[in-house]
Amino acid sequence: MGVTGLWKLLEGTGHPVSLESLEGKVIAVDISIWLNMAVKGMRDLHGHAASNAHLITLFNRICKLLHFGIKPVFVFDGQAPLLKQKTLRERREKKNLHLQESKNASEKIMQNYLKREVMKLAIKSKNKTQKSGDVQETTSTTPENAEPVKSNVPKTLTDQSQVDDDGMFVLPPMKQNLQLGSSDEDQETDWNTRSTTHEALYGAASSGDFADIMSIDVESEDFKSLPTDIQHEMLSDIKEIRKRRRTALETMPEKSESFSSYQLTGLLAKRHLSERIRAVEKKMEAQNTASMAEIALQEDYEGNSIAASKISSEDATHYILIQGLKNKLPKVDEKEVVSVTSSIQDNTEKHILSSIKEEKVEAHTDIPQSSKSVNVEPEVPVITKQKDASVSLTDFVKQKSKLQKQDVLQLSSSDSECEKDAAEKRIPSVSNHSENVVIEKSCQSEINLENKFTKELKTPDVEIELLPKPMITDTAPSNQNGRDTVNVDEIMPTPKLDIELQLDKKVIENKAKVIGIKEPEEVVSSDSDQEFVDVESNLEVTEEKSDKTKTFKIISDEEHMAELMPTSTELYTAPEPNPWQGLQEEQLVEMGEEMDREDKALLERMQASARAARDVSDSATSECQELLRLFGIPFIVSPQEAEAQCAFLDKNGLTSGTITEDSDIWPFGGFVVFKDVFDRKRDPKCYTLRDITSELGLQQHQFINIALLSGSDYTSGIEGVGPVRALEIMKEFPGEGMGSMEKFKEWWSKAHKEVKAPKETKIKGQLRRLNIPSTFPSHIVANAYLEPSVNRSMESFSWGIPDLDGIRCFAKQRMQWTKKKIDDDLLPILKKAADRKISHQPLITSYLPTGSPCQQRKQKSKRVRRAITSTQNGGAKAEKTVNKVNSNAGRGRKRRGGKTKQPSPVKHFAAEEKPNLGLSESSGSDS
């Protein structure tokens, strides 16, 4: 704001002023700078920016001004002049930066929050497992609380499922139970499932785990033995990661020569991958066509009532709608997952499994619906995948059992004891581990698919690949939930609901998103009512859930979530190397504290940058004007700059000074400026052009020159030149107004070209090294200061009586103030104002002539002193004042001539300055 560093130069010339002495004076107030400061500077008790800061500030300051009987004229900024817009643009860029920072900080805070929650869990779980691990694990597994997922398949659910449905809403009370330390297995199940989901979902997707994927040996037999679809997805994942994160995975070669080989290896690896992918794709295709027929058959067997209709076809895609399939879900399910389901279904205790199964069912039903078509390929792989996943899930649930599908049968009938054992031991068996990975991979790929789906909707190839996705996504979240429950249960014997909810919410978020994506798709692809019901129920769930978790800030950013999740997954995936495991509790606590600190700092930063980014809106301006109207205070909206208008009013005697903090007022030609009037830490100071001229030899032209040299709102100035240097330049190149600048430029252009430095003064040597832009000195800038666009009305101002009722109403509405507070603030002021109306107290200075002001100023720096002596002597006017000598001499010599005999410096300038202090010009001749 203003001329860079000018206030510092002028500091010594100001003298303290008491506001009482300003009573009855008409003073212009540059409100624009206030509002900016009010909006940015004001905070409430918690450090948040106050929403009505501008009004509160204005109100208080009006009260202050009226209290002292000052007659304010408020001046608003108008449009920024073109010159200033450039500077404004720079400022805006800065603001955007602030915004960004603020956003970053909030993200980080969220991350920290999650981290901390996770750590709490870790600490708790540690305690619990040590203390009461047994208790928890001996309780029976009767999962009555269902995951929201189940509501997706209402028709397939038996009685239990009714309970399940309720369970969804019963979740919150669970919280208390948990806190009480109860350890119902089912709750834990619920929990574990969810956390697993997350682990699965985000674990591999997180940046930290890329290495895991990348470390897979694509050529290994193990890999090849995987189902083709999983192979395919892993491969495409690897490819994707390579594409985006290559530098993170393989460090760049240090020598530049080896860079090309580095690139070449990269290319080769890529090619290899794509070859593999193509091969897998081929295999998949073959499988699909086979299984397509199978499914079709199945459907025929199962669903007599199934109605299928072709909705639309494209070159590569066919959408077929199949109705009535849902009704048949249980059966389909049985067929699909015979081994698993049949044994489990009647087993009430194995609810988890059934729930998983249900999900599976979901998956199945969805998939057939999605695309019975020529390219059936997606379906089967997905089904197999689901199977696989579910199997591995169940496996996972029974951590210990390293069994494949059939084992699940046994295990599912085995009692919960097994689980507990598994949980207690947590020894990841090889197969378990691999299966974990599988789950992760599949889930992750789901995510990836989703991502891709959203991103690459347009590319046809991808679409074929991705076709199942919208459908999968439907199931994916449900699956997630299912799995989640399992895992959290296992590893977190003491689920913490806070985080649970959070995780939950995120799942929901995710789901919501998925739904969002899906919906339009479905509208196109199918008219199936059931489909829609599905979606709707899903949405409901989402809504309900998010209601519950309102307290948490929802992070909707998917990437963001991916970033956030690793921390939790790391913790939850017991089978995998747990980074938290090695940590002692104290360390965790320590880390928590550290994060607390970090949080605090971040919060501060966020608030600070949010404040910086706030802008003075038009509405704020109009609100302020409304308040001023109620107070009966006149205001002017300057066509352009408020400072210019203030200076104009001052010059023309319409006001007797300006309250501003903006040093632009000086080049605009202000006479009297009151600074720090509303600064609690500093006393109000009065700067007069008279003092400045007598002490520093500066006048409007010199101020403009300083602005040109050191930079202001209108020009960025010359790099390396501040006000003091500007003074030196003016001393070195004396001249009238801009003449001095032109001389300087002329000399510089010549001197700059000379190769050899000639003999010159030290200052000139320094000046020669400056880099002066070719546009310097800009007459446009100078003219902008000399002839600013202002309202040239010479009408004098009038002040009305404050409209008490109006103000009360306004303050109540806009600032939520009570009547008492308003009255407490206003009534004394109004009374004072009324008293003033009856009798007015003039100042003693209006009766007694002002003599010479003492010349005891703050010591100026040597440089400044040297520079001013010459500006004064060599300047336009011969300002040889006795004061000059005096001011530099010691205190004792100050008034050598006696105060009455001393020629007053006022006299020198009285002619060109406007009358300043009432009497000063009428009786100023007495000295």
Binding site: S839, I844, T850, P853, C854, Q856, R891, G892
Partner: protein
């Protein structure tokens, strides 16, 4: 080098009392002719002017004009350390930023030395024109103090009306009004108790009582006070400081018309 020895130290203490309420910081000007001070109150409505002539001091030396910026609060604290009968000596080097104060007990058995930091003050000097006043009223200082104190209970402003008959002080406020009238009383035994009014034309002026109450802090300096008034000029309230000088207060009158908003 500046040095001034005042046998009647209590005078300086009283002067200080008379100044400290109205000004927080002031510049004491030391010249060969004596000590003087001029300062406005914070609101620039009143002005105090003090003169202590060199001949009033037992010893006075001032080689070079000095302006000592003094914080009145600090000065009061230090002067409170002086006994009423003490002899006070002020000393300052030309280039020093300290003022030395020495208090000697009358019998010379106790000598206290104090040093006070001086400050750089930024003061504005007003020219005080020599002026003939329409009215000048001399009255016992304690009476004036009493009137001001009483009327300040009634209202914030006092209207001083001076006619041939005497001088009338009146105040109006929310709860009512009050008037005190003083008539000429040349028959009093002590000169200080006399009330004399010299008048060329009647005068009526309004003043804010709070300033008058600050002025009456000087009551102890002198038994009588002199009020000088003319229409539309500041009131002058003058207290003599023995025979060595005076302290004068100037107060701008209040203007009671609504038209004059400036």
């Amino acid at each position: 080098m500046f040095e001034a020895r005042l046998v009647q130290g209590s005078l300086l203490k009283k002067v200080q009392e008379a100044l400290k309420d109205i000004v927080q910081e002031a510049s004491w000007d030391c010249t060969s002719s004596g000590l003087s001070l001029q300062a406005m109150d914070g609101s620039h409505v009143s002005l105090v002017q003090l003169t202590l002539r060199a001949d009033g001091f037992e010893k006075y030396r001032c080689d070079r004009n000095l302006a000592m910026g003094i914080n009145m609060g600090s000065m009061s604290k230090i002067l409170k350390c002086a006994g009423n009968d003490d002899v006070i000596t002020l000393k300052a080097e030309d280039t020093s930023d300290r003022l030395e104060l020495m208090f000697e007990s009358p019998k010379g058995e106790k000598i206290s030395n104090y040093e006070m930091k001086l400050m750089d003050l930024d003061c504005e000097q007003l020219g005080i024109p020599d002026q003939e006043y329409s009215c000048s009223i001399k009255m016992p200082s304690h009476e004036f103090a009493r009137i001001c104190r009483d009327l300040s209970q009634i209202g914030e402003c006092v209207v001083i009306t001076c006619t041939k008959d005497g001088v009338q002080f009146s105040a109006k406020g929310d709860m009512g009004s009050g008037t005190v009238k003083m008539s000429q009383n040349l028959g009093a035994e002590k000169e200080d108790d006399q009330v004399t009014i010299e008048m060329t034309e009647p005068v009526q002026l309004t003043f804010a009582i709070k300033y008058l109450n600050m002025f009456t802090k000087a009551t102890s300096l002198s038994g009588s006070v002199c009020l000088s008034m003319s229409n539309d000029v500041p009131l002058v309230v003058e207290y003599k400081v023995e025979d060595m000088g005076h302290i004068k207060y100037f107060l701008a009158p209040k203007i009671e018309d609504e038209d004059n908003d400036d």
